[in-house]
């Protein structure tokens, strides 16, 4: 299988879907002539022209709404946000229009569209540019929220998102674009809402999504050296969440740590813990622990930023704690 970056895998998905369905188009800031702020759409303007790959002014609310309107009358837009930090300006359109259109119209207007772009913390970008938004978006009925952690998942999940008749929020890890992995060639899809067991073990379950999948795998490698084998459950989609996959793993390991990039309060991890206590109450040998960003805005200074972010050492400590090894 060819080895591709996460960025290139996303581009393959976009390109193949643009070819497959001429109702699909990509719209956003700098996506066309500039080849994408993060170069995901590199070369697509040359191949598909300016009606399919569309540069917009800096008007997040406006172009999100343009996408929604076009979806109401039969197109299948992909709206790229330069980053999800700026998509907050468009949140009214995403939440009040896209997520509810089908429901409000009694099923008349489906929203076959994708809102996508980089999400999560990056390096020293400070408080307004370094944030993970999945728990905000997962809160909203009517949206699907997808968080791929690997290049192969990125491609298969994006294709599914584009073909889905619902509004899909697709959160790409800003720090994942250069990561590499084997990616199947040609057409394949990964169903939305199905988790993936990325590592197998019996000592503890680590639940992760998005960028934290890489951290979970580092943790699994480090613990394996100490003779501790963990399950890594990659949620892949945080709405819907694959409760069954989590429960199956926890019933085997009897312990769990939930890892996420976002803040603690009302975070995705809180939801996962709720599912675990309902499904696996009698199976648990210890309380479920969570690892997340510290409950502060992201600081700029390198040392403070490092301290604020969830990382492998913090996760290893949590696993040892639920195993009563520390």
């Amino acid at each position: 299988m060819p080895v591709l970056t996460y960025r290139d895998a996303l581009r393959e998905a976009l390109r193949e879907e643009l070819i497959r369905d001429d109702r699909v188009f990509l719209m956003g800031e700098e996506v066309a002539q500039y080849n994408g702020a993060y170069k995901v759409s590199k070369g697509l303007l040359d191949e598909f022209g300016p009606m399919r790959i569309v540069d917009t002014p800096i008007t997040e609310l406006g172009f999100a709404g343009v996408g929604i309107g076009s979806a109401m009358v039969g197109l299948r837009p992909i709206i790229e946000f330069m980053t999800w930090n700026f998509a907050l300006l468009a949140i009214d359109q995403v939440v009040n229009a896209a997520a509810k259109m089908l429901y409000m119209s009694g099923g008349q207007f489906p929203m076959p569209m994708v809102f996508r772009g980089p999400n999560g913390s990056a390096l020293q970008l400070s408080a307004q540019h370094s944030q993970a938004w999945e728990s905000w978006l997962a809160h909203i009925p009517g949206l699907k929220v997808v968080t791929p952690g690997t290049p192969a998942d990125a491609k298969g999940l994006l294709k599914s998102a584009i073909r889905d008749d619902n509004p899909v929020v697709f959160l790409e890890g800003e720090m994942l674009y250069n990561t590499k992995g084997e990616v199947p060639q040609g057409d394949y899809t990964i169903p939305l809402g199905k988790a993936d067991l990325k590592r197998e073990g019996d000592a503890c379950t680590i639940v992760a999504h998005g960028k934290m999948v890489l951290v979970a795998l580092q943790v699994a490698d480090a613990l394996a050296k100490e003779g501790i084998a963990v399950d890594v459950v990659d949620l892949r989609t945080v709405r819907p969440i694959d409760i069954e996959a989590i429960a199956t793993s926890v019933r085997k390991t009897n312990r769990a740590v939930v890892l996420e990039e976002g803040w603690e309060i009302c975070g995705v991890g809180a939801q996962v813990v709720d599912f675990i206590q309902r499904e696996c109450f009698d199976d648990l040998d210890s309380p479920v622990l969570r690892v997340h960003q510290e409950d502060v805005p992201m600081p700029y200074a390198k040392n403070l930023e490092r301290a604020a972010k969830p990382d492998a050492p913090k996760a290893i400590a949590a696993v040892k704690k639920v195993m009563y090894l520390a």
Partner: protein, 350 residues
Amino acid sequence: MTTQVPPDTQTQAPSTASAGNNGQPADDQASLRKDLLRSMLIQRRFEERCAEAYALGKIGGFCHLYIGQEAISAGTMSMLRPDDYVVTSYRDHGQAIARGMSPRSVMAELFGRQDGCSGGKGGSMHLFDKSLNFLGGHGIVGGHVPLAAGVGWAIKYRGGDQVCVCFFGEAAVNIGAFHEALNMASLWKLPCVFIIENNRYGMGTEISRATANEDVTARGAAYRMPGESVDAQDVFAVRDAVGRALHLARTQRQPTLLEMRTYRFMGHSMSDAASGTYRTKEELEENMKRDPILVLREKMHAGGELPDGELKKMDDEAKAIAQDAWDFADKSPEPPLSELWEDVLVDTTS
């Protein structure tokens, strides 16, 4: 030059110090020109060092340089009173320094150190100095424009005659927040000066590809706000226009929308090459001929005010200030880890 002054606000503001003959004694004029040149030189030399520090990894994250646009900050700040307010965007080093922030505390902030103006928590895009009424450095395009209206509201509320000046790029005029803020500022007669720094590019997008009407000053007409378009490579043209706007704001609480026509000589940020792929090298070189420092220098040379030795002396001073800022920042410690938890909320327990 487009000037749209609604009939009921047409007041002749006194022209402020245009180079030469506005009634001020000649030596005042000469020392003013020297101050402006000094301010621009310090900004320029400071930011050249920023580029170097970024390449060495001493500055991280995003770093947007202001080189080429210094006449706007130098000219505007030279017209403000200490009790006026300034709000700006992420391209904020030049304005911070021109407003009087210490290059040391700015550089330390860029280095992410304890002695930075925001204690290392803000970085390049979020410079703040309350003692100078410098209300930041904001990272979301156009998001800070309503804040300026809010400051204007507070001034009016308290009955003061200060003014709030707000800087943003030309691409920000397409953001909804800009329109909502201008409407309220005009409706409520708030003492604000909204300054569009039109460097023709929002990241890699040239204005004509993003903005239906390139005459961005005309945006004010929708809100009955007077406006003016200014050659912002000429620091005195900046001063004149800002002076008129300040007068309207102070005496009538009439907000103004000013377009400063300028050009950035560097990339959008440090991750973007100077000319980028979106503009030609020729265009860049052509515009660099109107470097605001050169423009002022030539004017001073022509008036016999700036012997070669003196310019070099001023420039050496600017370089020394930048070097001193660097040395200071380099020596400043990282913020203590306990700082991570400080400033999230005001402590109300004591």
